[in-house]
């Protein structure tokens, strides 16, 4: 039987691709890297993979799942769930543009963390004696004996092949680009241009790419984008699941994230008028699953007990092994070491860049995402754990939940008896993100609308203002309780292991974009964090990304990362018999 193909046209780009008759729209969107969020991995549970089918929706009637997860108005307007909708005729489709992909504000480098600019990449000037009949040393040994670096060498044949031509073209003077003791490129002596490094933080939800000047130590530009793997599942478990169900699953997810990384690097270079040929070093941090997928290593065993990763990093690869498009053939990629299957190198990076290790007293670092990862330092000892907070704070499983994109309610406050709220970029309210939820619940408690046990008066609570309205229902509050109890229970267990009490905590560092947005007072109010005086709580921004930047600017950071990753005591919560009890104790929405 001949295969029937239909046209799928994406709006507003008008790009047209083909799909097989009966193909699930979500698969087409994934294949074509269209922005779509499939929180539940495409199982028809979350309703987040909504797309507007402008023409052709009538050819495949709504399923029961769509009837349940979409409103009648939405269906009437042509909205469909892409995980349900099958292509049965030519269609025109518009998905929501999730891509942040904008120039994120350029964070300053925490000066405390970087002792000096001493990148792994160094430029070394050389000036060679010209060969003559009394000095017949080979080009290679002539160059190597002119360098002060100890035991220098060219390791790869591609540069050795160019060597005779290049040193004569440079007229025997130039600058050697050194990666440790390896010469990876040769530049003209007169070339005073800057050289750059790339630092990448691969979050489950967001990718951030930094361009750093290796001479001045400054961050030149930053870009971020949604992790396109969201089309395959919101959290790491659903993505691991996908890699295990499909033959080429790891490759699909790997290609998705690589495409976006390469695009961000392209954009950064264009925006900053930096040639890719000036990028000599790259460092990458991320949770252990993201790193496995990026490297093309099956993350399968991370998902089930006893949660064994293939590796946790602390390795240098060649760019070409990863297919990362930085154009220096011999440039390297540093993968920072993580600690375990669920405490990744993003936490190592966060510890290194946030001042966690240098701060006095007992310090708690919390990075809240789908997994809440946390580290507690008490004296010389550091304990770390990860707890499954679920996607509530990223908008998952929340009726009107969303990530912190334009239009998301991000802050809520009580003004006398009135409730006020703001949205990201001041746009019309289109949902509520994590920081808004925590605020809203704290406000609802203060207003007496919600009890400490999470009971709500009526079916739901409605935020209403000039920017529109957003509802929070009973189930949403339950989701927040589950999430915050998971985090709080993790903290409790770390405190128990370290033998310290709440009053002994000198400082709480909130890492990640979410940590930056939330109101510490309200986080304390709902009992998400141990009840310390609010001034002891401070956000540390994208500590993971900054840690990655430090790793290209200061080779010493790599050694510290290595020793950190071996010194940290990982606490496996699923091995604690008392976890559930502590978890239940922390469900109440009260300080403690």
């Amino acid at each position: 039987m001949k295969e029937v193909l239909y046209k799928v046209t994406f709006l507003p780009s008008q790009r047209t691709v083909t799909a097989k008759r009966g193909e699930i729209l979500l698969d087409v969107l994934r294949r074509e890297s269209q922005p779509v969020s499939a929180v539940c991995g495409g199982r028809g549970n979350c309703g987040k993979c909504k797309a507007l089918v402008a023409d052709g929706s009538e050819a495949f009637p709504p399923t029961l799942t769509e009837a349940r997860l979409l409103t009648r108005d939405e269906i009437a307007a042509g909205y469909r769930l892409s995980c349900q909708f099958k292509v049965m005729t030519d269609v025109r489709v518009k998905t929501e543009d999730l891509a942040l992909n904008s120039a994120v504000s350029k964070p300053p480098l925490p000066k405390a963390s970087i002792r000096e600019i001493s990148p792994q990449i160094r430029l070394e000037e050389f000036s060679l004696c010209r060969p003559d009949i009394d000095d017949q040393a080979s080009d290679y040994s002539r160059l190597m004996s002119a360098l002060v670096t100890e035991r220098p060498g060219i390791d790869r044949l591609n540069l050795l092949r160019r060597l005779p031509h290049v040193i004569r073209e440079l007229d025997y003077r130039g600058r050697a680009v050194m990666y440790g003791s390896e010469v990876i490129d040769l530049l003209p002596f007169s070339d005073e241009s800057d050289i750059f490094g790339i630092a990448i933080d691969i979050g489950t939800t967001t990718l951030a790419v930094y361009l750093a000047d290796l001479k001045s130590g400054e961050i030149v530009a930053v870009r971020s984008a949604s992790n396109p793997q969201s089309a395959y599942g919101q959290d790491v478990i659903s993505r691991i699941d996908y890699t295990m169900k499909r033959d080429k699953g790891v490759d699909e997810l790997r290609a998705a994230v690589l495409n976006t990384m390469n695009k961000l690097i392209d954009d950064l270079c264009k925006e900053s008028a930096v040639s890719k040929e000036r990028i000599y070093d790259t460092s990458i941090v991320g949770n252990t699953t993201m790193i496995h997928i990026l490297l093309g290593i099956s993350p399968g065993r991370i998902a089930s007990s006893p949660f064994i990763p293939a590796f946790t990093g602390g390795k240098v690869f060649e760019s070409r092994e990863l297919d990362l498009e930085v154009s220096i053939p011999n440039s390297k990629i540093y993968i920072m070491p993580g600690i375990s299957a669920y405490v990744g190198s993003d936490i190592t990076a966060g510890i290194l860049s946030s001042g966690f290790a240098e701060d006095y007293g007992n310090v708690l670092l919390v990075d809240i995402g789908t997994n809440g990862e946390m580290a507690l330092r008490s004296g010389e000892r550091i304990f770390a754990c990860s707890t499954a907070a679920g996607p509530a704070f990223e908008g998952g499983n929340i009726s009107q939940g969303t990530i912190a994109r334009p239009g998301a309610v991000d802050h809520v406050w009580l003004n006398g008896k009135d409730i006020g709220f703001s949205t990201v970029n001041g746009l019309k309210a289109s949902g509520i993100c994590g920081s808004g939820l925590i605020d809203a619940i704290a406000v609802m408690i203060d207003a007496g609308v919600v009890s400490e046990s999470g009971r709500i008066k009526g079916e739901h609570f409605e935020l209403e203002g000039t920017a529109g309205r957003v509802r929070i229902n009973r189930q949403d509050i339950r989701e927040v309780q589950l999430a915050k109890a998971a985090i709080r229970a993790g903290v409790s267990i770390l405190m128990d292991r370290a033998g310290i009490e709440t009053r002994n905590i000198d400082r709480i560092l909130l890492a990640g974009a979410f940590g930056n947005y939330i109101d510490p007072e309200n986080a304390l109010r709902i009992g998400m964090l141990p009840n310390v005086p609010v001034e002891r709580v401070s956000p540390v921004g994208n500590a993971a990304g900054l840690g990655a930047v430090l790793a290209v600017l200061d080779s010493g950071i790599r050694e510290r990362a290595e020793s950190l990753s071996s010194e940290i005591h990982y606490v496996e919560l699923s091995g604690r018999k008392d976890f559930n009890e502590i978890f239940v104790e922390n469900l109440a929405l009260r300080e403690g």
Copy 2:
């Protein structure tokens, strides 16, 4: 205008290829890797690229060059020079099969040179604790902490990707294949099969490939073949010349030698029933030009003063960088260090395997080929030089000269008044090779046919016997005089530098296939070597090849090679004003 193509059919294989109208036959033969020897590089000087054009020779009449270099009988029979003949119709062509490509006799390893079998490649057994919830170490760190090698690691992503699957398939026990501290493969615990190394000696004329058992230290098999680059020129200068005239010249020559190397490795493995997957290490020696071309590095500057090579080696590359077909993805290729543009790693290897460095007293090592390379040790000091002997001893520029292939006159003797001779494999005499020439000239002197100054009675001297006849003419004798004077002058200059006289020389080692064949007495008789008692002269076989074998069997040899190459005093003969004088003094065919 449409390009006209003709068919060229090779005999006896009947393989048919196409050639453009007017294309030079030699270019077709080169492109298709057909055996052909173009001593002069295709300039119409040597007459060695003879081919039988069985059909179609009439379409392009013989050139003046062909009329000069071929006999009338040859032309009548259809023999043509492939550097002259243009394809102007479909042709059927037969070239002489130069390929030795036979199992060469397996040389024993010189036991003195190898202190112990300690290859760069080692197998290390491991037995891992099974992971559980109380031991969540990653697969990677689990394996590394089980190895006793210091700071072990997997460097390449391809193996890291396989790691989780492999260690479970092996049920947590196995053998790690270590290259130094790098794990390059993982084998089952029960796998007791042998592992192998390949050693390659790339001679200008002949390639030799050895298969060595890395456990027992034995040479399992040897194969050799003519260097297919002979189709581009007999000596290194004419090949360098070719690489400089053609855009892709280096690539062409590189492909030629790689094809043959890969074929020899294939043959060796088949013959010995060894899987290519068991080959974990390769070492390569050769003169500096051969190594440049193999690595794809332009050898251009080797050909003209001040003779600067791009590098002289002592490097490890990955197999894939070289396109050598050994199938372990992470296996390495060791290139032994040489000394200068004209004293290559074949000499380093010869020094290491011949006992040169261990012998008592003053030792001279001579490797006679197109270049005569030699090293003289006096106490702790070693001097080395290279002298352009020309191709006479390999049959070049000799009217009936040939390499030592079947049918070549290889030994000549005086039996009372009769002259006797033998041929390689006892076949009908088809020419005379180097060892035969030296014998013949010594015999001619003894017989009073040739004077010490090289004057011959009559036009030529004819060897005649049951195996046929071979002529040696005036010009041939002159060529031998030039060659031997070049070698003897080189030796004189080394002796001068070392401050020793002939009577102080305790031992002369003759390296190379040629050194194995020549009669030391006759070499002394014609004054090619300093006049020591004949018992002090001994052939050391293919010392270069054996040195390459040692480098896969004993990692200590690599360190010795490294220090040797930096300690040897290279003497540049073209920098010696007295060279010509010494050279002329040594032209006479007498002991001295």
